[in-house]
């Protein structure tokens, strides 16, 4: 997988890196499947993927924050075990200490390295100047705007002169314009060799951000996370969003992200007929609300039933992160087809988009019961009970066998949303009971 065309030896190399949670019954919940990954000097690498796919976990394993379940991370060919290598992280939520001033925040990592006060003062001021925070040294983070806060985050990360700078969705908590400015400033520091950092590793769910910044884009797939594609970007800086080369790359990443992956263990869910035992791994529901899908289908129907996903995201000003689960839902329910980066509405989807609210529910119900084994299971379990009622824990226990605790909670919440919308069952949240809807 590693693109070994860049000659020098990698700074970081992950070999067969894995993350899983062993279960009491001996099975394991696999979060990240065995992954090989290398970070070469002189590159900005973007790790791209839908939310909840394990990007951040992978970043934390590479930095040593989170231990790997199996496999090994090498730093300059040496196993990185105890001694944490010289890295920094810029966090999505900034993770500044609100009780420290800007200067104190930037000095804190130097303090941790035992640097004497005068020297660390000098170094901190220099980097504060470099990121454009001059004059804000004695301000507290809460006095700053989001963009200024993330500048502090960047200054704090750079002050230790890290060999690799890790960034965990650094611009996603900022508004569009601020994010754009900060990206520009980061590139300026990097391309102008104003920082001694030798590589940048950025986790993002924003495709354009990845294409603007990165020399290499790694696309992660889900369930469990694995490397789905690896792009090399050779567009010269500054990159023009409107240039054909740029748009072409964005489109092809979209195609990869939405391309169904035919791997052995994941057959598409719709192949299950009634009565056939349900394979555990196929139950994962995308976390969306039926209302969102309805909106997507309506827009698609308005546009003649076919549209490029990239344009669709632009038009809805949605990031892939928000769009993809909705698309997944529509595909899962058979209301949408994907053809090479285009979303195409199916007859069922067309009917759904044009129906009124009651008819929609009927269509949704039929589609959901046909394609979502979990909902079918739930309906059957409720029918089997004389009082047509079951506690939600019953289903959570079932899901717990396949998912982490957090994920099974989310799965159940999504299933309940869908089931309520489809009027399959009713749910009383106060007592946690599901009751079959009488028809």
């Amino acid at each position: 997988m590693a693109t070994a065309n860049t000659a020098p030896a990698p700074i970081i190399e992950a070999r067969k890196l894995e993350k899983f949670y062993p279960q009491p019954d001996g099975s394991r919940i696999q979060v990240i499947s065995a992954t090989d990954l290398a970070v070469y000097p002189g590159q900005i690498i973007a790790l791209l993927g839908p939310s909840g796919c394990g990007k951040s976990t992978l970043l934390r394993m590479l930095t040593g924050l989170s231990p790997a379940s199996a496999g090994m991370v090498y730093w300059h060919g040496q196993p990185a075990t105890n001694e944490s290598p010289n890295v920094s992280i810029v966090f999505q939520s900034f993770a500044l200490f609100p009780w420290l001033t800007v200067l104190e925040n930037v000095e804190a990592p130097l303090e941790a390295r035992g640097m004497p006060p005068i020297e660390r003062h000098k170094r901190a001021l220099r980097i504060i100047d470099a990121v454009g925070l001059d004059g804000f040294e004695s301000a507290y983070p809460k006095e700053l705007s989001g963009g200024m806060k993330q500048r502090v985050g960047v200054a704090r990360a750079l002050v230790v002169e890290p060999e690799v700078l890790f960034m965990d969705e650094p611009f996603s908590a900022l508004d569009v314009l601020t994010a754009e400015t900060l990206r520009g400033e980061l590139l300026e520091l990097w391309l102008g060799h104003k920082i001694p950092t030798r590589a940048i590793f950025i986790v993002t769910h924003n495709i354009e951000e990845a294409v603007v910044l990165a020399d290499r884009i790694i696309v992660l797939g889900r369930n469990p996370a694995h490397i789905h594609a690896d792009f090399t970007v050779d567009i010269p800086h500054p990159r023009d969003h409107k240039s054909p080369h740029f748009i072409e790359l964005v489109d092809s990443i979209y195609r990869v992200l939405t391309r169904p992956e035919h791997r052995d263990e994941t057959a598409p869910p719709r192949t299950f007929g009634p009565g056939r035992p349900v394979a555990a791994k196929t139950l994962m529901l995308p976390h969306t609300r039926p209302g969102g899908m309805a909106g997507l289908l309506e827009i698609l129907a308005d546009q003649g039933g076919r549209s490029n996903l990239h344009h669709l995201a632009d038009e809805l000003s949605l990031e892939v992160d928000a769009l993809l689960p909705t698309v997944d839902t529509a595909v899962l329910l058979g209301m949408l087809r994907l053809e090479e980066g285009d979303a195409v509405i199916t007859p069922v989807g067309q009917a759904f988009a044009q129906a009124d609210i009651q008819a929609r529910k009927a269509i949704f119900r039929k589609a959901a019961l046909a394609s979502v084994p979990l909902l079918r299971q739930m309906e059957q379990a409720l029918k089997a009970k004389a009082n047509r009622t079951l506690p939600d824990e019953f289903f959570r226990d079932l899901l717990d066998e396949q998912f982490s605790e957090e994920e099974s909670q989310r799965q159940l919440e999504t299933a309940i949303q869908w089931g309520r919308y489809a009027e399959i069952f009713d749910y009383d949240a106060a007592i946690g009971k599901l009751t079959l809807t009488e028809t």
Binding site: R60, T63, L65, N82, S84, V87, S88, I89, F91, Q92, S93, F94, A95, F97, P98, W99, L100, A108, P109, E111, A112, R113, G114, P116, P117, Y140, P141, K142, E143, K149, R156, V160, A429, A430
Partner: protein, 574 residues
């Protein structure tokens, strides 16, 4: 708003003089206290009833409270830190806190006192330390719990930042753990010190079997005045106590609260920052901040640097695995020691308890039922008046501006100090002590409910209030659909604290030395007090166990459920 330069100079001068006086007083205080503590034991210390001794007595009490508080803080930080950082310790330490919190102060009395007097048989220090430890047992648990739960709620990205930037343990503690917990610690410290004042009378003067311990202080002054029935002295004592508490509030707590605001964990500056209610407060708050910047922060940074270097050096000299073995061995030894100690204690306690007759237990359970009725009557009465008043204060900013400082002032006066005054009026009535006992519980605990209700009413979203207005809700509908559900989580929080406090207050409310005799009414608190008075350790042990289990049971069965309901159904999410 610019102050003329001249007045600023005179301010500085006044402050200088004040500082000088404080230092002078402090030196004298240290001297006086040293002489008293290191002096020989005074078996029957005479507690003077002359108002002129009050400043000195106030100083004695204040020092006792301060030492006890300092001990509490240190212990609480250590306890919370260990509980939060070791998963194995956490399993035991957190439920243990719950239980310790429900044990009334006086139940610790015999053990603490006898141990201290045994350690220092010839010095007043023994009795002093005993008293301090008693105050400590009443202050420490909620601070420890607050620190523990703060540590557990530190956002994960902050933890990761500290880790990736290689903070040493100390730096982590000084720059993340402690600042993040500061606000909780400050509020709980205030509550704890208020609790210290509440139980001061019980902690400065007590009888243990045949031995009579008395320590000069505000609490013993009041207690003596009460048992002599000396109205004038009672009033003097109450006045002195109120004066000290008000001074403490204005000079210490208010500035500290303002200072603590900087530790609020928020990314945006809130517009509704707590406005200090005294105008000149800003000046004093800035003193607190200046002291912090000039003294504490450099000191902390110096510590950080030396710890970091120390840790480096240690890492160079020791090989890591060896340290691991040593630490593990020490851990096992410690655990084994604790287990043996526990086994021993349980064995003896069981033998002690088996000596008690069946009838004794029945009597204790009857007393428990009586106290149960009293506590809950007091709670219901408290809720009945505080809910409407609290909602009124919370929903009218103009009313709040007048009423809130008054309520805060009233809340800071310990009910126990007022108790003798109340008794003076009620003792002649039939069932007077019955009423007085409930009144004391009410006085001691209603504030928790009131302040929580105020906070709840203030947090009611304006749009919901507007909706209620637009749809012309009747006032009954408004209460039913908006106010009561909105304040419910806050009300539950207040009631939990109040309930625990009321059970604890029963030990001073149901049994009292007054006008040369003992006035008491049947109840679990009175069983505990009289058992400790007469040195019946078996009864004391049994009644303590019963009270602790009742409090824990009520917490588990009632409050925790209501709490869960409050946080799931009645949470106002934005």
């Amino acid at each position: 708003m610019n102050r003329p330069l001249g007045s600023r100079w005179s301010w500085a001068f006044l402050i200088d003089i004040a500082v000088f006086l404080v230092v002078f007083a402090a030196i004298f205080g240290v001297y006086a206290i040293g002489r008293a503590w290191l002096g020989p034991v005074q078996p029957q210390a005479q507690i003077s009833q002359n108002p002129r001794v009050l400043p000195l007595y106030a100083l004695y009490s204040l020092v006792r409270l301060s030492v006890a508080y300092a001990l509490s803080l240190g212990f609480a930080l250590a306890y919370g830190y260990i509980a939060a950082s070791s998963r194995r310790a956490e399993i035991v330490m957190v439920p243990l806190l719950d239980i310790l919190q429900s044990i009334p102060v006086l139940s610790f009395l015999p053990g603490v006192m006898l141990a201290m007097v045994a350690i220092f048989p010839y010095r007043q220090l023994g009795v002093e330390l005993g008293s301090i430890l008693l105050i400590f047992t009443g202050q420490v648990w909620n601070i420890a719990f607050s620190f523990y739960s703060s540590l557990k709620t530190i956002p994960s990205e902050l933890n990761e930042a500290a880790k990736i930037y290689r903070f040493s343990r100390w730096q982590r503690f000084a720059e993340l753990d402690l600042p993040f917990s500061t606000i909780g610690l400050v509020w709980n410290s205030m509550m704890s010190v208020a609790g210290g004042w509440f139980f001061l009378m019980a902690c400065e003067m007590f009888v243990l079997g045949k031995r009579d311990f008395r320590l000069p202080g505000l609490g013993s002054f009041l207690q003596t005045a009460a048992s002599n029935g000396d109205t004038r002295a009672i009033l003097w004592g109450v006045a002195a106590m109120i004066a000290v508490i008000v001074l403490l509030d204005q000079l210490l707590w208010r500035p500290v609260i303002v200072w603590a605001d900087k530790f609020k964990f928020e990314q945006v500056e809130s517009s509704s920052a707590a406005q200090p209610f005294l105008l000149n407060l800003i000046g004093r708050a800035s003193i607190a901040i200046r002291v912090y910047r000039l003294v504490f922060r450099p000191f902390f940074q110096w510590l950080t640097l030396s710890f970091t270097l120390g840790a480096r050096r240690a890492a160079e000299t020791f090989s890591a695995p060896k340290q691991h073995y040593v630490r593990r061995a020490v851990g096992y030894l410690l655990a084994a020691g604790i287990l043996v100690g526990l086994g021993f204690a349980v064995f003896h306690a069981a033998r002690e308890l088996s000596d008690l007759h069946h009838a004794d237990y029945i009597e204790l359970l009857e007393s428990a039922a009586l106290t149960f009725l009293r506590v809950n009557t007091a709670l219901i009465l408290g809720a009945l008046w505080t809910v409407p008043v609290g909602v009124a204060i919370g929903s009218s900013p103009r009313f709040a501006r007048i009423a809130q400082p008054l309520a805060q002032m009233a809340a800071s006066i310990p009910a126990t100090a007022l108790f003798p005054v109340i008794l003076l009026f009620l003792i002649r009535l039939r069932g007077g002590l019955e009423i007085a006992a409930m009144l004391l519980m009410l006085l001691g605990t209603q504030w928790y409910i009131l302040f929580n209700v105020i906070a709840g009413a203030m947090a009611l979203p304006t749009d919901l209030k507007e909706a209620a207005h637009i749809f012309r809700f009747s006032s009954w509908d408004r209460w039913r659909h908006l106010i009561l559900p909105g304040i419910f989580p806050y009300l539950v929080t207040g009631m939990v604290t109040a309930s625990g406090g009321a059970w604890n207050a029963s030990i001073v409310a149901e049994y009292f030395h007054f006008q040369g005799r003992i006035v008491s009414t049947a109840g679990l608190g009175s069983s505990i007090s009289s058992a400790s008075d007469s040195g019946r350790f078996d009864v004391l042990l049994a009644s303590t166990l019963i009270m602790a289990s009742i409090v824990v049971l009520i917490n588990r069965l009632l409050w925790r459920r209501l709490y869960r309901l409050a946080s799931s159904r009645f949470k106002l999410e934005t």
